[in-house]
């Protein structure tokens, strides 16, 4: 466990060295200004607009980790040959993968935390500027739950990108797979709903239906972790829904990491 933590801290520091946090700080400042200014242009739902922008920014900031850091996870270490010095110090490949993932988790949590604090400032400034009347439906616990579930969704996605990077050494291919996973993960639910009740005249072939059903079990349903709209309207998900999402998220992440370890253990690094 100590070794995993050590690698995680090392990966986290490496992420910091890439000046990700500076970018995030600038992004956070931009977020506060934009959401406060834009929300004032609307008629009534000022709180909803502010929250929409803040939660979208937290998502976008969190996505930097899987899209820009996780895709280079192994490629960079192999390129710099740091992987060999690590693996030669009695660190197993499983510990290496878990440690790397741990580092990405730490980075994601830090980014989400920074952006959440900026979002809180943006909401507070908006409330101060436009008055309590427009913030009657502001529901802080619903926001906290939405951000936490969003964080879980980001970790699920990061775990899948870790899996792709353990399968392929090409950063380009990993990026393509990450984009495909993101698109499928966010549209699958809509497509399945469309398939269940196709509009008159539209016939969905059984092959497409089976492919989509298979995709439902292979790719993560990232849209399920998206509680932003409900939170923006001050709606709290049920306890049952939260437990279900937690189980799905933790289960999927664990499965993806196990697969990543299996692939990485069989991989020829030379």
């Amino acid at each position: 466990m100590k070794k995993i933590i050590a690698i995680a801290l090392l990966s986290f520091q490496e992420g910091l060295r890439q000046r990700v946090l500076y970018g995030i700080m600038i992004f956070a400042l931009f977020l506060i200004t934009t959401s406060v200014l834009l929300s004032g242009m609307f008629m009534r739902d000022i709180a909803k607009i502010t929250i929409d922008f803040c939660l979208a920014a937290i998502s976008a900031g969190g996505l930097l980790v899987p899209f820009f850091l996780a895709v280079n996870l192994l490629a960079r270490d192999i390129e710099r040959r740091t992987i060999f010095s690590l693996l030669s110090r009695a660190i197993s490949r499983a510990q290496y993968v878990l440690g790397k993932f741990g580092g990405l988790v730490l980075l994601t949590v830090t980014i989400v935390a920074i952006l959440s604090v900026s979002a809180a400032v943006a909401i507070w400034v908006s409330k101060l500027l436009y008055g309590d009347y427009f913030f009657q439906h502001l529901h802080i616990p619903a926001l906290l739950v939405a951000v936490s579930i969003q964080l879980l969704g980001l970790l699920v996605f990061t775990a899948v990108v870790v899996l792709w990077s353990c399968i392929s050494t090409s950063s380009f291919l990993v990026t393509l797979l990450a984009i495909a996973t993101y698109i499928i993960g966010h549209t699958m639910e809509e497509l399945i709903r469309f398939m269940a009740t196709p509009p008159p005249g539209v016939e969905v072939s059984p092959v497409v239906q089976k492919t989509l059903s298979a995709a439902l079990y292979i790719f993560p349903n990232l849209a399920a972790f998206d509680l932003k709209l409900a939170a923006a309207h001050g709606l709290m998900p049920s306890g049952h829904e939260i437990i279900f999402l937690l189980s799905y998220g933790v289960g999927y992440t664990a499965a993806a990491l196990c697969l990543a370890i299996i692939f990485f253990q069989r991989r020829d690094l030379l």
Binding site: F42, R44, D52, F53, I183
Partner: protein, 288 residues
């Protein structure tokens, strides 16, 4: 010669060119707006929802902002809408409410513009029914539905159940309890319109919309005042006045007030007040 001179010169030239093109670009984009709004309206809602990924709220907000900017610009320039543009707007508002079904602004905008300005009562009511379904905590969709039936469709019987449903929702203002009765008691749509517009004005945060509502409210108040004076004339003389001049002679009116919309108030034979501006050409659309 300093080696950086050609680069600086090129920079100045390039900056001048792009700065000069900025106003022209704005004009081109303005011309494109109608076409784009029409095109966005044609995309199936399921596709827009799917393509919004996890940013559905923000996509709905941007589309709403675009809609408001388009309408605001027209109002600012005093330009009238053509029927197709109203239909584009209706489709776009429907789309926005498909992406985020609980978003109140598009419903409020439909009530303010489609119903009041374009006379698209049925379309507005359909959107309000959707709002009532997805915003069960909000009294306003039923309140607006009740008002539309009373004021625009002159159907007090259908208006009453909507107003009663609105009054039952927690958080509804106390005055809603007796509003159905008050509307019927007044038997006067102008008074009901004033109550309704005052309520909408209290909620409007956007300056363009506030100005638009305030102007309409001001005009309705003038009409209401004139109608009350006509009623006072009738009580005093046991007949309706034939003209405003008669009311001025009777000392009820010092002059005919100007219409804030630039039209002219006309006293109808039944004692009601009409304005030639029709509050910016409010004519119901021909349904094709």
């Amino acid at each position: 010669m300093n080696r950086s001179y050609p680069t600086v010169l090129a920079l100045v030239l390039a900056t001048t060119i792009y700065v000069l093109t900025i106003p022209l670009l704005g004009e081109i984009q303005r011309q494109r707006q109608v076409e784009e709004i029409g095109k966005i309206g044609e995309i199936p809602p399921a596709v827009v929802r799917a393509l919004s990924f996890e940013f559905k709220g923000v996509v709905a907000d941007f589309l709403m902002l675009r809609t408001m900017a388009f309408v605001g610009e027209r109002i600012g320039a005093n330009q009238e809408f053509i029927q197709d543009e109203w239909r584009y707007l209706h489709r776009l508002l429907t789309k926005i409410t498909e992406i985020d079904r609980r978003f109140w602004d598009p419903y409020l905008f439909a009530e303010t513009m489609l119903v009041w300005q374009a006379g698209m009562i049925e379309e507005g009511n359909q959107l309000l029914l959707k709002a009532a379904e997805h915003r069960p905590w909000d009294y306003q969709p039923y309140y607006f539905l009740g008002f539309n039936h009373f004021y625009f469709k002159k159907d007090a019987q259908r208006a009453a159940p909507y107003l009663r449903r609105a009054a039952r929702i927690p958080g509804a203002p106390d005055y809603l309890q007796g509003l159905a009765a008050r509307f019927s008691l007044y038997g006067n749509e102008t008074a009901a319109g004033i109550i309704f517009l005052e309520d909408m004005l209290r909620q409007a945060a956007n300056p363009t919309v506030s100005q638009y509502l305030a102007k309409r409210l001001q005009t309705l108040k003038i009409i209401y005042d004139l109608e009350r004076k006509v009623a006072a004339f009738k009580i005093a003389h046991d007949r309706l006045p034939q003209s405003f001049q008669e009311m001025i002679v009777a000392g009820l009116l010092s002059e005919v007030p100007p219409d804030p919309y630039g039209g002219e108030f006309i006293l109808l034979r039944n004692g009601r007040i009409y304005t030639t501006s029709e509050l910016i050409g409010v004519k119901p659309l021909d349904k094709k």
